[in-house]
Structure formats: C-alpha cells, structure tokens
Subunit: 213 residues, 2 copies
Amino acid sequence: MSESAAPGKRIRILAVDDHPMLREGIAAAIARQPDMVLVGEAVNGREAVEAFRSTRPDVTLMDLQMPEMNGVAAISAIRSDFPTARIIVLTTYKGDAQALRALQAGASGYLLKSALRKEMMDAIRTVFAGRSSIPPEIALQIAEHVAADALSEREIEVLRCVARGAANKEVAIRLQISEETVKVHMKHILEKLAATDRTQAVTIALSRGIIEL
Amino acid sequence: MSESAAPGKRIRILAVDDHPMLREGIAAAIARQPDMVLVGEAVNGREAVEAFRSTRPDVTLMDLQMPEMNGVAAISAIRSDFPTARIIVLTTYKGDAQALRALQAGASGYLLKSALRKEMMDAIRTVFAGRSSIPPEIALQIAEHVAADALSEREIEVLRCVARGAANKEVAIRLQISEETVKVHMKHILEKLAATDRTQAVTIALSRGIIEL
DNA sequence: CGCGCGATACCCAATTCGAGGTACGCGGTA
DNA sequence: TACCGCGTACCTCGAATTGGGTATCGCGCG
C-alpha cells in the first residue's frame, strides 16, 4: 500500500450526511485513495460544527437537507469561525436557489449525489488545492436565474404562507400587514417567477429550492 | 474469512440506486456480512429489470426516484415476471402514497435511507426469510391515509394540471372535459385532502407523494 | 337487480384572486 | 440630489375559485 508513502500529508476529510449508507460509501471511496483520510463524520449541521472544531478537516463534504441544522446554516457557522474552511456541498439537486445560498454561505464546491466516485475524488482534490468545483450545469442554472429577479425576503415569507394554504387575508393577518399589500407582493412574486397563478408560483419556488415543503 | 464457510449459500443481493456513493456504501456493508453477497447493481428501473433477469437475486434493494424508469414501475415489471421476487424499497421518505404504491406493486420491505447499517442488514435477512419488513412509522402513516379517502386517477390528473399553474378552464381543455366537471373534481380533491384551497391541495399532495414536481 | 361510486355536466351565489393604477417613506446608489 | 427598489396601503374591475344543489351514465359489488 502507498499508505506509508506520505504519512500525515493526506487530505483530511469530514463527511456530513444523515444517510449512514452514503457516509459508508464515502468512507469506502476515501479509504481507497492513498492521498485522503476520513477524519470525522456527522449526521446533522450541529454535529458538523462540533466535528469541524475538533478535527479541523482540510475538506468538508456537506449535505444540505438535514435535521437539527441544515447545511447552509452549518456552512455559515463553520465559515464564520474558520473563514478558510473548504466545504463541498453534496446534495440531490433541489434547485438553483439552494445552490446559490450554499455558495454565498461560503461553499467552494457543489456536487450532486449522482456524481461518480471519480468526480467526487476530483472535486475534493480541486477544492483542497484552493480552487472551486462547480459543475457547469449548476453554474448555468444559477446564472440563468441570477440574471432574473430574485425574490425579496418579504416575498418569500408571503409565498411560504401561501404554500400552506393561506388566503391573502390570512397572510395579511400573520404578517401583520394589509391584504392589499399581500396582493402587491403576490403580483411581484408572479412576475418574478413567471407564474400564471399562486399555485404555480409555489411549485416553481419548490423546484428551485426557494421555499421548502 | 468466513467466505469459504458457506459457499453458494449466501443471500444474493441486487442494489438499485442512481447514487453511486450510496451503492458503494451498500456494497461495503454487504461485503462485511458473511451471509450476504452483492451480485449486481443498477442505476435505474430499466437496468434493474435487466439485472434481475440475469442475476436472479434473492433480495433486491430498490430506490424509488430514478431516471429512465421509476422504482414502482420496476417493481411491477419484475414481479410480473418473477412473482416470488423479494424487493425492499429504499428511499428518502416522500409520503405515504409512494410507500403504498410500492407495497401494492409487490415490495416486501420499506427502508428509509436514514436507516442504520444494522437496520438494513436486518431488513434484508427478514425479507429473505419470506417475511415483510415495514417500519412502524411508515405502516402508521399508510394506515392513517388508507382509512381516509384516496384520490381517484382522474382527480390526480386534474391536480397535476393545477400544480402546473393551469386554471380550471385550461384543465378542462387539456383533459377534454367541461370546466364544471373540473370544478367538481377540485371540490372532491379539497375535501379528500382536507385542503382549504388548490394551492394547499398541491403542497399536501406533494408531501404525501401523490403527485410529483 | 339495486346501490354506491366515479365521471360527466349544468345552475347559482359568495368570495377570492389577479391586474390595472396611484401614492409615500426609507434606504442605497448613480 | 435624483433615482430605484422595497415595503406599505388604497382603489377599481373582471376573472377565477369555492361551495351548494341536481342529474345522467356506466361499472362493479353484494
């Protein structure tokens, strides 16, 4: 084995995902790489922050959808303490908004779970080298919608209520604003998402990861 | 090794999932079990059917959401040719409707991807022994909604159109029926799903796996 | 054979939604 | 400073949605 060839010089990796079998797969793949070593695992964002503090990995593989604390929050938390932390987002594709938020939170890479082993290993080495690793199709999706209008925070709040079945009047009560204002927000939402009605607006927002179910 | 202890008597397993790393994890876990052997892998439903024909596994682990051919269709296809096929559904929880359809298609087990390695191995042995393996929480969810009304095929068609932003009039045109009929369907949908409006009906249907995005 | 259920269709009434327009205060930016 | 985007609020109006009723047809089930 080439394990003894470069002791202590391997890329130290932290894997964060709530699926044990997926972590197992990552562990198995990394174990086969002579230049990598898995130094920690975590099943949610909270544990990820703890694990990062204690293990100080070179590269962190981070799922986005997790219980306790989601990936974006975990990335933000880690990057605020360790601004040089190199993090690769690992996820089943759920829209450009998620990807964008993760990258804005400080992720250096984005990897779909459908990626091949080699692609993951390449991404790890790329990110470890200080470069970023974002698949062209993701970059394209982001570019498309960054050009378009992003929803404001307030608009997203409104849309979240609407997704739960609230009528404009109910949204108005929950957000402590006038129903007329809700209508204005809805109008802007429909324009920005190019939706014909509130229902389609919700499905579009869901598919882009702007809101969650 | 115990490999030579019981040659040819191991549980022969087929793993079907479009995530390479997850398959890798399953492979690694199975490799550690003395009474199991992975005899094939597939990345979608179509390949799964082919792989089943050629390898005749004792137990098949099958993801539900895959490109080319989804898990439910693959289970149906396999079970129609091999009625005794033992199949465990492996998925991130996406609603009781999905689970129910998989079980109706002939699955013997249901396993969340967040399951621990031991849980998966236990499920494989249970299903191999001819028993079924369904987590209590899934069984409960199914029971809850089986008691409630299930949407009819036509109602699901209508709801799918609505989710895409179609107004009643447009749904009527697409389905070649009167707008009045669409209204009746919508009324029944709202009743059955206990939704206050069409938007909530869509989000509820999405969360239960009745329709997809 | 009758019964219920699903799908079809129509009528009516009340409410909600979506699309116009106008307006003002508050930040940030050209 | 002037402009722009955001959030707020109001007005009107036509279209869409929702809830109620009635009725026909076909199909499966007891």
